[in-house]
Amino acid sequence: MTFLFEGFLEGLQMVFQGNPAVYNAAWVTLKVSFGSTLIASLIGLPLGYFLASSSFRGKGFFTVLLQTFLGFPTVVIGLLVYGFLSRRGPFGFADLLFTPSGIVIGLVILAFPITTMFTMTAVSGIDPRAREMALTLGASRQRTAWTLFKEVRFGLISALLASFGRVASEVGIAIMLGGNIEGYTRTLTTAIALESMKGEFGFGIALGLVLLTLIFITALLSRYVQKL
């Protein structure tokens, strides 16, 4: 027990003393998590809306495809994106491997099924009269979509928060595509993986505490939004 306890104390110390390595990692985590959540939302919100409100031939198929993406093992995502971004791959010229942007690409693939699904569910739950009200009052299709989004805005915010929480906790993709470069692509999660490997338990705890705090804040916000 003392081992855990000491590690915990050491970790707390590092957090409150503003240990730069810890906060650098936190900054990288925030950057890539925000970036990927934003892009995943820009994809997921319109896509989810579209899937929920249209009925076309292949709709069932696309839904199954989405479910598959949702359950995709993250190491496979990391592997595939690595193949694409590697200098030998088709996008090698873009020099994205081992950069934060590379991580974001992988995280977007992880997150967009989440935002799409959440949006699809939220929009499907909208009273069909709402759409008709907008249309009959003369709103264009885009204005109608925007109005419906506002009606389920809390569901959509939950989508964003769920997505953020997921990508902030991701390790595999971040290591494979980022290379865990200190101060550049070392996130809280990849740093923990590294530190535990080095046997630096206290430092790992410090990182873990910061990460947990982030996730906790995300969960709090989500709950707050739901209650509105």
Binding site: R87, R88, R143, N180, I181, M197, K198, G199
Partner: protein, 270 residues
């Protein structure tokens, strides 16, 4: 609708701005033990200051580091696996290999030392004893520089280690040492990782055999062949390699201390 276009424009702008990156970046593949020693955190800032180039150190096993170079995913490598490096150059993946520094490997194990190898200068004899006694031995088993060195030593002792006592973990050096500590096993490790872990009583293993010249661990820096991969930053890679082998770089290496102990020896004397 308007807000949507606004968001898109901000994103696009952000993307464009970030693409016009602030610094030039050089990708360096190195081994986990090198990165964990803290040497790069000591050396690289000096280089970055002088050249304005950011060095991105990606720490993986030696095998992977060379593979990254082979694929052109990095620009330069700093590794310690002489044979593999030679093959690498011969196959045309890398150019301009330079000796940078050396440190050494040591055999560590539990204080109880069931195989009785403590103080043995001859590492081959020590390994033979361990094999005879079937004492628990943990190997890296991951194609890393340390692992390659280990296999060369076994070969020289004319032993093909196998059996219950010999376990390949497929983990990094730190984890392997932690595991060896838990289970009371012998293992081959680089001095740096050992110093890092043993200071502060994180593990109870002790050094049992050291000093044999066969435990010598030379480090080489290799630039990725620009003819194979036109996108690599060859000029920057050479700049870095030249820095490492310059008087300044070499004296920095000599002055580096880990937990107060000397770890690396510059190739060009000190």
């Amino acid at each position: 609708m308007k807000s949507y276009s606004l968001i898109l424009s901000i994103l696009l702008y952000g993307f464009l701005v970030s693409s016009v990156a602030a610094y030039e970046r050089l990708k360096l593949a190195t081994t986990t033990s090198t990165a964990n020693s803290g040497l790069l955190n000591y050396l690289n800032p000096v280089f970055e200051e002088k050249s304005g180039v950011r060095v991105d150190a990606i720490a993986v096993g030696t095998g992977k580091a060379l593979k990254l170079g082979q694929n052109g995913d990095v620009d330069v490598m700093l590794v310690h696996a002489r044979e593999a490096e030679e093959t690498f150059i011969q196959e045309g993946h890398g150019v301009n290999r330079k000796d940078v520094m050396y440190n050494d490997f040591i055999i560590v194990g539990p204080a109880s030392d069931a195989a009785g190898i403590n103080g043995m200068d001859d590492v081959i004899l020590a390994l033979r004893k361990i094999s005879e006694k079937s004492s628990l031995w943990f190997s890296r088993g991951d194609d890393s520089g340390t692992h390659k060195k280990e296999m060369i030593l076994w070969k020289e002792s004319a032993i093909s280690p196998s059996g219950n006592w010999y376990r390949g973990l497929g983990q990094g050096m730190g984890k392997t040492l932690l595991a060896a500590d838990e289970k009371g096993a012998y293992t081959l490790t680089d001095r740096g990782t050992f110093i890092a872990l043993s200071t502060g009583n994180k593990i109870g293993l002790i050094i049992l055999s050291e000093g044999d010249s066969r435990l010598f661990n030379p480090y080489g820096a290799i630039a990725v062949n620009p003819e194979r991969h036109p996108y690599v930053k060859y000029k920057l890679a050479m700049k870095y390699i030249n820095f490492l082998t310059s008087t300044e770089g070499q004296s920095l290496i000599a002055r580096f201390r880990m937990k107060g102990k000397i770890l690396f020896h510059p190739h060009n004397g000190s």
